[in-house]
């Protein structure tokens, strides 16, 4: 069982006024709802076999994507794993391009070449969904190396799961990033499980943030079910990194409501545990807060719901109506060299 870290509630200090602006709350709400609705439809489309292959949804973890939108700049880079639809959407890759990719269409974000696990967008500084557990940890570190080399104050958000935290590449990366003071923000999205393996079964040190301490890397655990807590932690870490102090490590505690992938019934966890987290649902939490504290009106919430509904409907329609890539595209993008002589 994972342990829920209670966030330092920012509103506890200022009892009346919300800690963030109305725009921020509405932005979070919109970002999270987009991901949730997008992925609910994704699962339906998977059921209809419009989407194939491995498909890992982010449902339950949306508060992290929301926090990233408000706390990180568009120029900052992001590298993550295969559970990436939510992060890609939050970066501003369109629902249409994402859905078309899942359908394996030419109009997808990577022309039907990547599917659910591999979106990329140079324009959005999205360095991929990686399918090899932990592989993006050194890659994200290298993206940060390049930013420092070029003298920018951008950072690279390098995201990985609790399972990935046990790969040797993490330890090598942490060491070099700290030694060379690279501008990398490591985020472990600890959703309690790597497939069917709970965090506590993978290490004598179940507190993943403590790994960073061995390198004297500033490292903290964060409540990942609430965008307020996520934003605060990210903003503080980003400031530290931009000031040239080197990497920062956040273990963000979250939960995935669905199985590991569409094929996993998730029998290794209890109904009670699932309910415990569904009660903390970040979308509900933010919606309640917005309405209770009168940050925005019900009409404004409804407008966002309608906007998202239309957007996702249109994304599905777009994906449906797009063409599949031509089989000959198998041979494109293997080499930059256009006339590469393939063996046949």
């Amino acid at each position: 069982m994972t342990q829920v870290v209670k966030s330092k509630k920012p509103r506890a200090k200022k009892a009346k006024a919300p800690a963030f602006s109305k725009e921020t709350y509405l932005q979070w709400y919109e970002v999270m709802l987009r991901i949730r609705r997008f992925e609910e439809r994704t699962l339906m489309m998977y059921g209809q076999q419009k989407i194939r292959g491995f498909c890992h949804v982010y449902i339950g973890q949306e508060a992290i994507a929301a926090g990233l939108v408000s706390a990180i700049r568009p120029e900052d880079a992001i590298a993550t794993a295969y559970r990436q639809h939510g992060i890609a959407l939050s970066r501003g890759i369109s629902s249409k391009a994402c859905m078309a990719e899942l359908f394996g269409k030419k109009t997808g974000v990577v022309n039907g070449k990547g599917g659910s696990m591999h979106f990329f967008s140079k324009e959005k500084r999205f360095f991929g969904g990686n399918g090899i557990v932990g592989a993006q940890i050194p890659i994200g570190t290298g993206i940060a190396f390049a930013e420092k080399y070029k003298g920018t104050d951008n950072l690279c958000v390098t995201m990985f799961g609790d399972g990935a935290a046990r790969q040797g590449a993490l330890f090598e990366s942490f060491n070099m990033a700290m030694t060379w003071k690279l501008p990398v923000l490591y985020i472990c999205e600890n959703n309690g499980y790597a497939m069917g393996t709970s965090v506590s079964r993978t290490s004598n040190v179940p507190d993943i943030y403590k790994i960073g301490l061995a390198f004297d890397m500033p490292s903290e655990a964060v409540d990942g079910m609430n965008p307020e807590a996520v934003h605060e932690a990210l903003a503080k870490a980003a400031k530290h990194i931009r000031e040239g102090n080197g990497p920062y490590f956040l273990e963000i505690k979250t939960y995935r409501y669905k199985g590991h992938s569409v094929s996993d019934p998730g029998k290794y966890r209890s109904k009670e545990e699932l309910k415990e987290y569904k009660d903390l649902d970040p979308i509900k939490v933010v919606e309640n807060k917005i309405l209770k504290d009168k940050i925005a009106s019900e009409a404004e919430i409804k407008a966002i719901k309608d906007l998202i509904k239309t957007e996702i409907d249109e994304a599905i329609e777009f994906a449906e109506n797009s063409d599949y890539p031509d089989p000959s595209e198998l041979y494109t993008d293997n080499y930059v060299q256009k006339d590469y002589p393939f063996l046949t």
Binding site: G114, I132, M195, L330, F342
Partner: protein, 327 residues
């Protein structure tokens, strides 16, 4: 008495029988114990053998492969399961630099009786990183033996031989065909490492294949039979050491050879077979050897790519007609 069981059950029976027979055999890998295996190959083994001998690991391929090597050097007989061979890439250092070289480096003092196993090959629309075939990679390494099959009878007999073997072995299965059923006797038996099997007798052309491409080769042979072309089909079963003799004997009869190999073409299993056969059966060949491989590319997600990428019966039939100079 034979009964029909699935590939996953055959593999499990093989491992379980060897674990009952030899206390030093253990199984280690991701999700092998509590989850009963990502593809349910090890289902029930934790219940029977307990945590000491069926060991779940963190996602640390390099680490647990190396732990296997060390344990093998110190008297145990590890079975290291990779969820798929794509992830074994992280462990190549231990497989290639250590398991394969310990005997040579120690002048025979330490051997490394370890079995690395898991599914290999494309399995649908899984994209570039999850669709690779590894027989050629591993077979390139002196010191390793390589087994690759999906037939349940062979899989059980070979996995038992592999566990008893004194050398390090890589075994490739297929996640798409863990359900494939075949006749397997109740009684104990072994299938020797290093022997191919003739699956279908024929006189006009020899088709050599292994693992799930055997299904493609056999389907092509059946189609060809309808057109009056008699194909002999050989299942390699072991890739290293490779049973060239069985192929040579067949080619002496058919004078034509087509190789169906899911590995990429460059420096692959098909290239090796081609070299050896031109060397040992040159005078018997009536046409250049033709191979049907996966495309010389990475495999993207869209369905059309999978179709284009993989060998299929139509491509094999075309290759056969090419070596037979018929249209």
């Amino acid at each position: 008495m034979a009964r029909k069981i699935a590939l996953r059950d055959a593999l499990r029976e093989g491992m379980s029988e060897e674990m009952r027979r030899d206390e030093n055999v253990f199984l280690m890998g991701e999700e092998v114990a509590l989850y009963n295996g990502a593809y349910k190959v090890s289902k029930g083994m934790l219940d029977e053998f307990g945590e000491r001998r069926v060991v779940d690991t963190p996602i640390s391929e390099l680490g647990f492969a190396g732990i296997g090597v060390g344990a093998a050097m110190n008297g145990l007989r590890p079975i290291i399961e990779f969820m798929t061979w794509n992830f074994a890439v992280l462990a190549f250092d231990q497989i290639v630099n250590n398991a394969a070289k310990t005997l040579s480096q120690s002048a025979g003092d330490f051997n490394c009786p370890i079995l690395f196993r898991g599914p290999s090959g494309a399995a649908g629309q899984l994209g570039q990183q999850h669709s690779q075939t590894f027989e050629s990679w591993m077979a390139n390494v002196p010191g390793l033996k390589v087994i690759s099959c999906i037939d349940p009878y062979d899989a059980k007999g070979l996995i038992k031989s592999a566990i008893r073997d004194e050398d390090p072995i890589c075994m490739m299965e297929s996640e798409l065909y863990y359900n494939l059923e075949g006749e397997v006797p109740e009684e104990e038996y072994l299938v020797p490492i290093g022997l191919a099997a003739v699956r279908r007798q024929g006189t006009d052309v020899t088709i050599v294949s292994y693992n799930k491409m055997m299904l493609v080769a056999k389907a092509a042979a059946e189609e060809l039979a309808k057109e009056g072309i008699s194909a002999e089909v050989i299942d390699l079963r072991t890739i290293r050491p490779l049973d060239f003799q069985t192929i040579v004997d067949s080619v002496k009869k058919t004078n034509r050879l087509v190789i169906v190999d899911e590995c990429w073409p460059f420096a692959g299993v098909s290239a090796e077979v081609t070299y050896e056969i031109q060397k040992f059966a040159f005078d018997y060949l009536d046409a250049p050897i033709v191979r049907v491989n996966s495309a010389d590319t990475s495999l993207g997600y869209a369905a059309a790519f999978v179709e284009e990428f993989l060998p299929n019966p139509a491509k094999v039939i075309e290759a056969v007609k090419q070596v037979m100079y018929v249209k």
